[in-house]
């Protein structure tokens, strides 16, 4: 039996009572979520629901007004972004945010900026080139000249170069052709098999629920629905209602 102060060793991310504001706008209100080891958790919701804000707060770019963020039990809210990356949280941001004038290889090298085990970095890069062979071909090309899908692969690889304990993905399907989205999600499924823990923000409900174990639906800064992905998939109307805030 778990006691009240039992430390849950399987919890990778624990967000509790999180409130985030931008000036007068409250983007997240007293929100709690958790991600367990090896899990892929989807964070769904309409535009402006607060999904990106959640990821930005976890990675320390935005400071919460109230609440706490814990990584494997330790508080990380209040740390600087570089310290949070060093603790093992990698963030693949919305819109990819590649360094477009730098080569693919340089982008990946930057993803390893906080790594201490320099000797393994090269092997990791080769493994990512195996996952996305096109990136090996393009390694010396400026990343800004790549197609949208290829750029998303670079963004994903750059985040993985940190060898994260928790991978934050913000809309990896954004602005990418359906076929490439499938390819990217197939790669994410492979990563999931290797045990990478992910918090996945998506607007594409179907692909997200196809990959995720569990999901939260966010509406104007609050959770309007949560549950196992399989259940939510069967009950598409309920998810749509949670999106729009229609009372059932």
């Amino acid at each position: 039996m778990a006691t009240a102060d039992h430390i849950d060793t399987d919890e990778v991310l624990g967000v509790r009572g999180l409130t985030v504001t931008y000036g007068a706008v409250t983007a997240l209100r007293d929100l709690s979520i958790e991600v367990r080891r090896g899990e892929v958790v989807a964070l769904l919701g309409a535009n402006g629901a607060g999904k990106s804000t959640m990821l930005r707060t976890i990675s320390g770019v935005v400071r919460p007004r109230a609440g706490e963020v814990r990584l494997e039990g330790d508080r990380i809210d209040g740390l600087r972004p570089s310290q949070i990356v060093a603790r093992g949280v990698a963030h693949s941001p919305e819109g990819r945010r590649l360094f477009g004038s730098l080569t693919v290889a340089e982008n990946l090298r930057l993803g390893a900026a906080q790594r201490r085990d320099r000797e393994n970095v090269e092997a990791d890069r080769e493994r990512l080139y195996d996952l996305f062979p096109i990136l090996r071909e393009r390694s010396q090309q400026q990343s800004g000249t790549l197609s949208g899908g290829e750029q998303q692969m670079v963004a994903l690889s750059r985040a993985l170069m940190a060898r994260p304990r928790l991978l934050l993905l913000d809309e990896p399907s954004l602005g990418i052709a359906p076929l490439i989205v499938q390819q990217i999600f197939a790669s994410l499924a492979e990563l999931k098999e290797t045990g990478v823990t992910m918090l996945l923000v998506e607007q594409n409900i179907n692909v997200a629920l196809g990959l995720a174990d569990r999901a939260y639906v966010l509406r104007t800064g609050e959770i309007s629905l949560e549950g196992p992905a399989a259940d939510l998939k069967r009950n598409y109307e309920e998810v749509a209602a949670a999106y729009l805030g229609v009372r059932r």
Partner: protein, 300 residues
């Protein structure tokens, strides 16, 4: 005088002047690249570098050692200004940044006047630097300081080029210049990168200050003002935020000024700056982002 030799002579003058503009412009562009802020106090690091050299030299250190220390003092001053004045307002609206950097300029220049008075002081350089070098039977003449200026600039640029393209910190700086927010998200220590940028930029300005003082023979508190304006022009011509652009812009500006002085009637020379700025306006009408640029908004 033989026209070919005259051109060579003026070419040497142009490269020497352009080197100084390039040294100052690069630092201005580097800081702008990362922070999107025009650091008007940048020119004052020239003054700090030159006065630093003067004082350390007066205290008994040989000139070359004093100059080296002067450059280091310039770098340190830049880092201190960043820490005390710019970091607290980082991310504030552009107007705030602009006013802050102007305020720092006034504070530094007034500090200079307070300590050294506003009248110019002699800048003592070793005699060897003033010695004339003659080529082609005396038809081409320049002083050793021209040679030193060009040589040190080339060395500094080579070092910077190596640093930016071959080291991890340099790579981080290029990333930060492209997208500061993304640099933060991949885990780069952005505060540290900004300190490095200010240190390098201010060391370059300090070096330019020492060379400028050596060429003119004097040091004064507002000595950085005109070179800063020129460097600003050079950086914009090159594409503000781009290091290679500032380099090219610096030499283009140096060449242009010498061209006006050397090849137009001497009655035109006094209007040199007006002509240069006029050409800049025309140039920007056709290429608003400068020579080397990636398209981006230039914020003052």
């Amino acid at each position: 005088m033989n026209m070919g030799l005259y051109i060579v002579q003026q070419g040497i003058n142009a490269v020497s002047l352009g080197s100084l503009y390039a040294l100052v412009a690069i630092g201005l562009s580097m800081v702008f690249g990362i922070l999107r802020m025009t650091n008007f106090a940048h020119g004052d690091m020239m003054m700090v570098g030159a006065f630093g050299t003067l004082l350390i030299n007066a205290a008994g250190a040989p000139f070359w050692l004093a100059a080296l220390c002067g450059v280091a003092v310039g770098a340190a001053a830049g880092v201190i200004v960043e820490r005390l004045a710019y970091r607290p307002v980082r991310g504030a609206p552009d107007v705030t940044l602009l006013l802050t950097s102007l305020a720092v300029t006034y504070i530094l220049e007034n500090l200079g006047i307070l300590i050294f008075s506003s009248s110019p002081r002699n800048f003592p350089i070793p005699d060897i630097m003033n010695s004339a070098i003659q080529l082609a039977g005396g038809q081409i003449t320049f002083t050793a300081i021209n040679v030193v200026t060009i040589a040190l600039t080339v060395a500094a640029l080579a070092l910077l080029g190596w640093f930016v393209t071959r080291t991890d910190v340099g790579l981080g700086m290029r990333a930060a210049a492209e997208d500061l927010g993304a640099a933060q998200m991949v885990g780069l220590d952005v505060d540290r990168l900004i300190v490095v940028a200010f240190a390098i930029a201010s060391a370059f300005a300090g070096l330019a200050g020492v060379l400028w003082a050596a060429q003119s023979g004097i040091v004064e508190p507002d000595m950085g003002f005109t070179p800063l304006l020129k460097a600003f022009v050079a950086a914009i011509v090159g594409g503000f935020g781009s290091i290679s652009g500032a380099l090219v812009g610096g030499y283009v500006l140096g060449a242009l000024e010498i061209l006006i002085v050397a090849f137009l009637p001497s009655s035109v020379s006094p209007y040199r700056d007006a002509i240069v700025f006029g050409l800049l306006i025309v140039f920007l009408l056709f290429k608003p982002n400068g020579l080397m640029n990636r398209p981006q908004e230039v914020k003052l």
